[in-house]
C-alpha cells in the first residue's frame, strides 16, 4: 500500500512539467473556448451568452458544416494510410546500411522542411495544368493531365498528393528511429530459419514498431482532421467549396468573420469527432499493437 502511494507520487513528480503546463496554460483556454462556444463573441467585444444556439445552428441550419465535414473526412481517410504507408516504405529503404544512405535520408527529409508559403508556391507551379511539372510528365507518358486545383473533382486529390510528398520525410524519420530500436538478434533468428525480407518484416519489424505505427495512426488522423495551411494558401476553399476543410471554415469564422463563439462550437464538434475516431483506434489497437515493454501490466 505504502509502496503504491510512493509510486504514484513519483509518477506525478515525473509528469509534473506537463501537469504544470496544462494547469497554467492549457486549462484556461479549454474552459474559455467551451464557454465561448455557448456565446456570441467576436474577441474585441464582450461575450453574449446564447446557450446551445451555436450548436443548434451548426447542426441543423449550416450546410457548410456538412460540406466541411465531408471534405475533411475524405481527406483524412485517404491521406492517413497513404502517408503512413509511404513513409514506412521510405524508412525501410533507408534503414539499410548501404553506402550513401545518410545522403539519401537527407534528400528525403528536405520536402518536410520547406516552409508553408514556399511549399504552396512550389506546388501551385507543380500542379499548373498548362506548364506544371506533373502534367508535363504525364504528357510525356501520353496521359492526359487533369486541371488539378481548379477542378472540383481533382482539387482534393491534388492537396492529398502534396501532403504525402511534403510530410513523408518527417514521418520517415520517426519510423526510422523505431526500426533502429529493433534488436538485431531477432533478425538473425529469422535468417537462421531461412526467412527472407518479408518474413523479417512481418515477424520482427512490424511487431516491434507497432507501438510507433499505432502512434502515427492516432496522430495522422488528428493532424489530417486539422488540415488548414494547404487550402488556406492555395485554394481558399474553392473551387465550389471542394477544399473547404473543417479548420479552414473554422478559421474563416474565427478570424475573417470574427465570430469566435461559432468557431469555438465548431472546434468542440471537431474535438468530439476526433475523440470518437481515436477511441475506436485505441479499442482496435489491443488486437495488433505489441508492447515489448512492461507498462501494460
Amino acid at each position: 500500500m505504502k509502496r503504491a502511494v510512493k509510486n504514484t507520487l513519483r509518477g506525478y513528480l515525473f509528469a509534473s512539467p506537463w501537469i504544470a503546463g496544462f494547469v497554467v496554460l492549457g486549462l484556461y483556454p479549454v474552459v474559455m473556448s467551451l464557454y465561448y462556444s455557448l456565446c456570441q463573441y467576436d474577441v474585441l467585444r464582450i461575450p453574449q451568452f446564447v446557450g446551445l444556439r451555436n450548436y443548434r445552428e451548426l447542426l441543423f441550419q449550416d450546410h457548410y458544416f456538412y460540406t466541411a465535414v465531408w471534405n475533411t473526412l475524405f481527406y483524412t481517410f485517404i491521406r492517413s494510410p497513404l502517408v503512413i504507408a509511404g513513409s514506412l516504405i521510405l524508412a525501410l529503404i533507408v534503414s539499410k546500411a548501404v553506402r550513401g544512405v545518410k545522403f539519401f535520408r537527407t534528400i528525403y527529409f528536405i520536402p518536410s522542411i520547406i516552409s508553408g508559403v514556399i511549399l504552396s508556391v512550389l506546388w501551385l507551379w507543380l500542379l499548373n495544368p498548362e506548364y506544371g511539372f506533373i502534367n508535363s510528365a504525364l504528357q510525356f507518358f501520353g496521359l492526359p493531365g487533369p486541371l488539378w486545383l481548379i477542378d472540383p473533382h481533382w482539387s482534393k486529390p491534388a492537396i492529398i498528393l502534396m501532403s504525402v510528398w511534403s510530410l513523408g520525410g518527417g514521418r520517415m524519420l520517426v519510423f526510422l528511429a523505431a526500426i533502429q530500436n529493433v534488436p538485431a538478434h531477432y533478425y538473425e533468428a529469422v535468417e537462421m530459419d531461412g526467412g527472407g525480407w518479408w518474413a523479417k518484416f512481418r515477424n520482427v519489424t512490424l511487431p516491434f514498431i507497432s507501438p510507433v505505427l499505432f502512434l502515427w495512426f492516432i496522430l495522422e488522423v488528428i493532424f489530417s482532421l486539422q488540415v488548414f495551411v494547404e487550402a488556406y494558401v492555395m485554394t481558399k476553399g474553392g473551387p465550389l467549396n471542394s477544399t473547404l476543410f473543417y479548420n479552414l471554415y473554422l478559421y474563416n469564422k474565427a478570424f475573417d468573420d470574427f465570430d469566435m463563439g461559432y468557431a469555438s462550437a465548431l472546434a468542440w464538434l471537431l474535438f468530439i469527432i476526433a475523440g470518437i475516431i481515436t477511441f475506436i483506434q485505441f479499442r482496435v489497437s489491443n488486437k495488433w499493437v505489441y508492447y515489448s515493454g512492461g507498462a501494460e501490466k
Binding site: Q40, D42, V43, L44, R45, I46, Q48, Q61, V117, N128, P129, E130, Y131, G132, L147, I150, D151, G238, P239, L240, N241, N252, F255, D256, D257, F258, D259
Partner: protein, 443 residues
C-alpha cells in the same frame, strides 16, 4: 609638431563623432514617439511620408513598423487585446468591419475641432471611413480601376484599335471576334469576366444603381434584376467555350511577364493604375490603351473602390500625436509627393492631388483613372458580415458560371445565407451596444 596636429585632427573628428552620435538621440528622446503599423505591401520598406514627417517637425517621432500581409489582421487584433496597441494602423480591410467591433477610436469630435476639410477626399472613399454616421479613419491610398485594352490584338481581329468597348454588350461582341483557337485549344481571348481583382457583375449591378442593403441595414438583397442580369451576362460568355477550357487556358497565366494581358493572351482587362508599372516593367513594348470601365447602354460608368486607411486603435496612448501624423499623410502636398516618389504608383485619396497637373503628368493615361475615381462605389456593402458577403457572392458567381445553378437560384442561396448571418450579427450588436462604449478621441 606634426604628431600634435594629427592628434588634434583625430581628437576633433572623434569629438564631432561623439556629438553627432549624441545629438539626434537626445532629440529623439524629447520627441513623442508614435508607433505606426503598416502592412508590408509595397516595395519601399517604410513609406516615404514617415521620414518626411519626422523631418518636417520637431515634437513627434513616427516609428514605422512593417507587419506581414499574411495574418496581419490577427496581429492587429491581438495588439488591441494586449491593451498596448500601436498609435496608428494602416489597413485595407473595410473600416466598418473594425469600427463595428469598437476596435477604433471615434474621430468625430477632433474632425469638428480641427475643421478638417473632408471634401478633399473622393466621396466614395470618405463614405467608407464611416460606420453608422460616425467617422473612424482617414483614407490613405487607393488604387483606381479602368479598362486596359490591347491595340495590336484589336487591330488583328479587325476591330478599330482606338475604339475600346463602351458598353458591356460591346465587350461581348469584341470577345467573340477576338477568340482564337489553335489545335483545338484556346490560344487567345477577348475578355475573361472572372480574371482579375474586380468583380465584373458587381460593377454592372452598381452601374444599374443596385442597392444591396436596406436603408436600416437589416435586410440584404441579392436576388434583384440588375444582379441576375449581370450574372446572365457573365454566363453568356460560356456559349463559346466551356469553363474547363477557359480554366486550362488561364492555367498558363502567371505573374509578371506571364500575366494574361501582359503576355498578350487576353485583349481586354480591368485593373488598377499600378498595372501601368507592371506593363512597363515586364513588357514595355506593349501597344495598349486605357479607357473608362464599360457600362450598360443607359447608365454611366461606375467603378468599385476600397482604400488603405489610417486609424487609431482603441487603447492607443498618443492619440493627439497620431492624429497630427494622420492629417499630414492625407494632405494634398504629401499625397502628391508620395504618389510621385514611389516606385509603384499608389493612387492618392486626396482629389486635389489626384487632379493636380503634376500627378496627371506622371502618365498620359492618369487622367482617365482620376476621372473614373470620381464615379466609384464602396465595396463595403454589409460591414457586419463583410467577409461572409464576399464569400457568398463569389460562390454564387462560381455556381452560375459553371452552370451548377441558375443565376437566380445561386443568388437566392447566397442571400439566404448572408441574411442569416446578418441577423445573428445584429442581435449581438444590440446586446453589446447597450453594455459597451466606443472610445472617443477625447476619452
Amino acid at each position: 609638431m606634426r604628431s600634435k596636429l594629427n592628434k588634434t585632427v583625430i581628437g576633433l573628428i572623434f569629438g564631432l563623432l561623439v556629438v553627432y552620435l549624441f545629438l539626434p538621440s537626445q532629440k529623439a528622446r524629447e520627441r513623442q514617439v508614435v508607433r505606426y503599423w503598416f502592412v508590408a505591401g509595397v516595395k519601399e520598406d517604410i513609406p516615404p511620408c514617415v521620414p518626411w514627417f519626422n523631418a518636417a517637425q520637431e515634437s513627434i517621432h513616427v516609428e514605422g513598423i512593417a507587419i506581414p500581409w499574411n495574418e496581419h489582421e490577427k496581429k492587429v487584433l491581438t495588439a488591441i487585446l494586449s491593451g498596448d496597441p500601436p498609435d496608428v494602423v494602416n489597413l485595407v480591410t473595410p473600416v466598418p468591419k473594425w469600427a463595428a467591433r469598437k476596435a477604433l477610436v471615434r474621430l468625430d469630435s477632433i474632425l469638428v475641432q480641427d475643421r478638417l476639410d473632408t471634401a478633399q477626399f473622393f466621396p466614395s472613399l470618405w463614405q467608407e471611413m464611416k460606420y453608422r454616421g460616425h467617422t473612424y479613419a482617414l483614407p490613405a491610398y487607393t488604387g483606381a480601376f479602368a479598362l486596359f485594352y490591347n491595340k495590336r490584338m484589336l487591330r488583328e481581329a479587325g476591330l478599330n484599335p482606338d475604339q475600346p468597348p463602351a458598353t458591356w454588350e460591346d465587350v461581348h461582341a469584341y470577345a467573340r471576334k477576338l477568340l482564337r483557337r489553335e489545335n483545338g485549344k484556346i490560344s487567345r481571348m477577348g475578355f475573361i469576366p472572372q480574371y482579375g481583382n474586380i468583380e465584373t457583375p458587381l460593377i454592372i449591378a452598381f452601374e444599374r444603381g443596385m442597392q444591396f442593403v436596406s436603408e436600416r441595414g437589416d435586410r440584404v438583397t441579392l436576388q434583384s434584376q440588375p444582379l441576375i442580369e449581370a450574372l446572365r451576362w457573365e454566363r453568356d460568355f460560356f456559349d463559346l467555350y466551356s469553363v474547363d477550357e477557359v480554366s486550362a487556358f488561364m492555367g498558363g497565366f502567371g505573374y509578371g511577364n506571364q500575366h494574361g494581358f501582359i503576355a498578350e493572351k487576353v485583349a481586354l482587362f480591368i485593373n488598377d493604375n499600378s498595372f501601368i508599372d507592371q506593363i512597363e516593367k515586364y513588357n514595355p513594348g506593349l501597344e495598349y490603351g486605357v479607357a473608362m470601365i464599360p457600362s450598360p447602354d443607359d447608365a454611366p460608368s461606375v467603378s468599385a473602390a476600397g482604400s488603405w486607411w489610417l486609424a487609431i486603435p482603441r487603447g492607443a496612448k498618443n492619440k493627439r500625436a497620431a492624429w497630427t501624423f494622420m492629417k499630414y499623410v492625407v494632405s494634398h502636398p504629401v499625397q502628391l509627393r508620395e504618389a510621385m516618389s514611389r516606385e509603384e504608383t499608389l493612387f492618392p485619396v486626396n482629389r486635389r492631388a489626384a487632379h493636380d497637373p503634376a500627378f496627371l503628368a506622371l502618365h498620359p493615361f492618369m487622367h482617365i483613372f482620376s476621372e473614373q475615381m470620381e464615379q466609384t462605389r464602396s465595396k463595403s456593402v454589409t460591414p457586419l458580415v463583410h467577409d461572409i458577403f464576399w464569400r457568398e457572392f463569389s460562390l454564387a458567381r462560381e455556381r452560375s458560371l459553371r452552370g451548377v445553378m441558375t443565376p437566380q437560384r445561386a443568388l437566392a442561396e447566397a442571400e439566404r445565407s448572408i441574411q442569416f448571418s446578418l441577423q445573428r450579427a445584429l442581435e449581438y450588436d444590440h446586446y453589446v451596444n447597450a453594455r459597451m462604449k466606443t472610445e472617443d478621441f477625447f476619452d
